[in-house]
């Protein structure tokens, strides 16, 4: 029997199998940030041991950093303490850090790929559930807790139960104005927030193959939102082309050798998955969420479900009360207060280009606060080089410095209580963007159009003959 992509990569990293179904899995790359690492460093100190393979760790500050005046000391004492603690820990243990002010600083899942750290066939972990992003390159990448961060620091390994496998195939051609964010919101709305639990997902099919690396990252990024351990896509020419020439990419003969190996990373025809789902790209509309978890999404022309249409009426009622919405209601035309474009889901250069392309020569609606937070210093630099920052500025958008920002509201970037924020991020939980904030998840294009129009729209109505209008 053939092997799945997941099995090919996983099997190459098993150090040993342990009684009780656990395996010792070797980790090629460990990414760390300021929020989930301090207690792990403390643990290492308390055990009186050193970090086992410090050259396999890369650190950045992202969750807690301000996105304004990044050159000044952080105002919030606790945030500053956490960021300073990361710097001190990295100095003490000799770990490479792309801290605040560094030209490579940014959201951990944005900088890994753009620096060529993320490569096919690797195992990558980070104390952050959106580590699944790196799976877009055909790597096994997943989020871990802080005790596991300490495990990897101590031994470069994790003791884990092998997850089951799932394949989600999307065949067909995406309609105009439909982006990878719509694909993943659609999938999660079908599978629910727990539909992927216990599984590692492979995304396949012609619609997936046609996507850029940035778009693939958006899909893999949100695998956790259906409960999956991670998501991955078999590497191909698009992948190799993206990696080539990046800072940590292999060069010359080494690159060719790597490509030869990477090309073997796909699911064999006779490989068997524990679960399979197939969807048609033609069925996917621009998506928007109406509730308080990422599974509560609908096509933008659809109505919010009624109590009779859902498994748990109580959960629907609780969500809608929080969101200030009614069952059976349509969201089209609903007034929005804030637009947030950013997060490890949609803050890459391609996302900023999509937004700038639409808002060029237009103005945001007067009542809208529109904020763009690039994923990294490199994305920021490129946006400036391409003149995107001027387009965005002229349209009335506020362009900030890189960080996780209003995706989770750990810094001061929060949405006020009761106000509606259309967001390109990944989670719409109660209070995620600030206490009482009401989040609706959408694609970057939908967010850009809403910023200009001031209310919920169907992005397809703003496209003529394939051109934005």
């Amino acid at each position: 029997m053939g092997k799945t992509l997941f099995e090919k990569v996983w099997d190459r990293h098993v150090v040993d199998s342990v009684e009780g179904g656990q395996e010792i899995l070797y980790i090629d790359k460990h990414l760390i940030h300021e929020v989930t690492s301090p207690q792990a460093f403390d643990g290492i100190r308390k055990r009186g041991i050193d970090i086992f393979r410090k050259e396999r760790i890369v650190a950045t500050a992202d969750h807690n950093v301000p996105t304004k005046d990044q050159h000044l000391p952080i105002k919030d004492y606790l945030s500053r303490l956490q960021v300073d603690t990361l710097t001190q820990n990295c100095e003490e243990f000799g770990i490479e850090l792309f801290g605040l002010g560094h030209k490579y600083q940014g959201i951990v899942h944005v900088i890994g790929p753009e620096l060529g750290i993320t490569k096919p066939g690797m195992t990558i972990v980070c104390g952050d559930s959106h580590t699944s992003t790196h799976g877009a390159f055909g790597a096994i990448a997943f989020g871990i807790g802080t005790s596991q961060v300490e495990q990897v620091m101590a031994t470069q390994c994790l003791l884990v139960q092998r997850p089951k496998t799932m394949r989600i195939t999307i065949d067909g051609e995406l309609g105009k104005g439909i982006y990878s964010k719509d694909i993943i919101l659609y999938i999660i709305s079908k599978l629910s927030t727990s539909g992927g639990t216990g599984h590692f997902v492979e995304y396949a099919g012609s619609a997936i193959r046609s996507l850029s690396m940035e778009a693939r990252m958006t899909i893999c990024n949100m695998s956790i939102e259906m409960g999956a351990r991670g998501g991955m896509i078999a590497p191909d020419e698009t992948t190799f082309e993206y990696i080539k020439g990046r800072k940590h990419a292999p060069e010359g003969e080494k690159f060719d050798k790597a490509v030869a190996y990477w090309s073997s990373l796909y699911s064999d025809d006779d490989a068997v998955f524990d679960k399979e789902y197939t969807f048609s790209a033609e069925d996917i509309e621009p998506m928007i969420t109406y509730g308080t978890n990422p599974g509560m999404g609908i096509g933008v022309t659809q109505s919010i479900p009624t109590k009779d249409e859902v498994k748990s009426p109580a959960a629907l009622a609780k969500s809608l009360e929080y969101m200030g919405l009614q069952e059976g209601e349509k969201l089209l035309g609903r007034k929005i207060d804030h637009v947030f474009i950013g997060s490890c889901t949609n803050s890459r250069i391609e996302d900023l280009r999509i937004v700038a392309d639409y808002v060029k020569g237009k103005k945001k609606a007067p009542h809208i606060n529109a904020m763009i937070v690039p994923g990294s210093k490199q994305v920021e630099a490129q946006a400036i080089e391409e003149g995107l920052h001027e387009i965005l500025f002229d349209a009335g958008f506020e362009l900030r410095g890189p960080g996780c920002s209003a995706c989770l509201g750990m810094n001061e970037d929060k949405i006020p209580k009761g106000e509606y924020c259309v967001s390109t991020s990944n989670r719409n939980y109660e209070g995620r963007q600030g206490p009482g904030a009401r989040t609706m998840l959408v694609s970057p294009l939908t967010a850009a159009i809403i910023a200009v129009e001031g209310h919920v729209v169907d992005a397809r109505e703003f496209i003529n003959d394939g051109e934005l209008v």
Binding site: V15, V18, E19, G20, G21, Q22, I24, Y26, V35, T36, P38, Q39, D42, G43, R47, I49, F52, H63, L78, S79, L81, Q82, P120, G127, D128, S129, G143, I144, G145, T146, S147, Q148, E150, Q151, T155, Q156, C157, L159, T193, S194, T197, G198, I224, E225, G227, P250, A258, Y261, N293, A314, A315, L408, G409, M410, R427, Y429, E430, G431, R432, P435
Partner: protein, 197 residues
């Protein structure tokens, strides 16, 4: 890590499904650099209003319910991987969480902190909520050695699953790092033959 053998306690019922870790501990309270003190902000935005006053309708603010077992509806602990969620529950005083389904990362984090996730059938969960509704002082007994959960004074009893390795760890208070460190020779040998591109 504290050992876990058997636990008998009254329970705190949280009749909510898909409880995500952002609710268990919101991101703005993740700024500490130690593991202690997170219990104070457990379920912060459900427990307190914006002025910091306790919301009387939230279960942790009701004197009726207390104990070291939390029981919640389906899919507990989804979302963010923050281990702070497990730390907050433990810091508050919980030793076990009962639900009909747990999200993967939360389950692993809980087990690494001596907090036992007990997955029961939807029927058992329903019966459990019903018994607590009838009498808030109903004690529940969890026996890790036997892998059973029992509502005392009733014939409601069910077995639960746990990996034999994790069970051994909890019974003895061991953690994964002790185990992995004892396998360092194997890890170094693996590295010799591990080819990377």
């Amino acid at each position: 890590m504290e050992k876990f053998k058997t636990l008998t306690s009254t329970v705190v019922p949280l009749a909510v499904q898909d409880v995500d870790t952002d609710q268990i501990i919101p991101a703005r309270f993740l700024k500490a650099t130690t593991r202690e003190g997170f219990g104070e902000n457990l379920f912060r935005d459900w427990r307190y209003d914006q002025e910091g006053n306790p919301k009387p309708d939230f279960v942790l603010n009701q004197n009726t319910y207390s104990g070291s077992i939390l029981v919640a509806e389906d899919n507990f602990g989804c979302g963010s991987s923050r281990e702070h969620a497990a730390w907050a529950l433990v810091d508050y005083g919980f030793r076990a969480v009962v639900s009909s389904f747990f999200a993967d990362i939360f389950k692993g984090n809980a087990l690494n902190n001596g907090l036992l996730p007990v997955q029961v059938s939807p029927e058992f969960l329903k019966a459990m909520f019903a018994e607590i509704n009838k009498d808030a002082n109903t004690p529940v007994t969890i026996n890790l050695e036997e892998q059973t959960i029992e509502i005392d004074g009733t014939d409601l009893k069910e077995n639960f699953e746990i990996s034999s390795y994790k069970k051994m760890c909890l019974l003895n208070g061991y953690d994964d790092i002790d185990f992995l460190l004892s396998n360092k020779d194997k890890i170094e040998a693996f590295e010799q033959s591990h080819q990377e591109f």
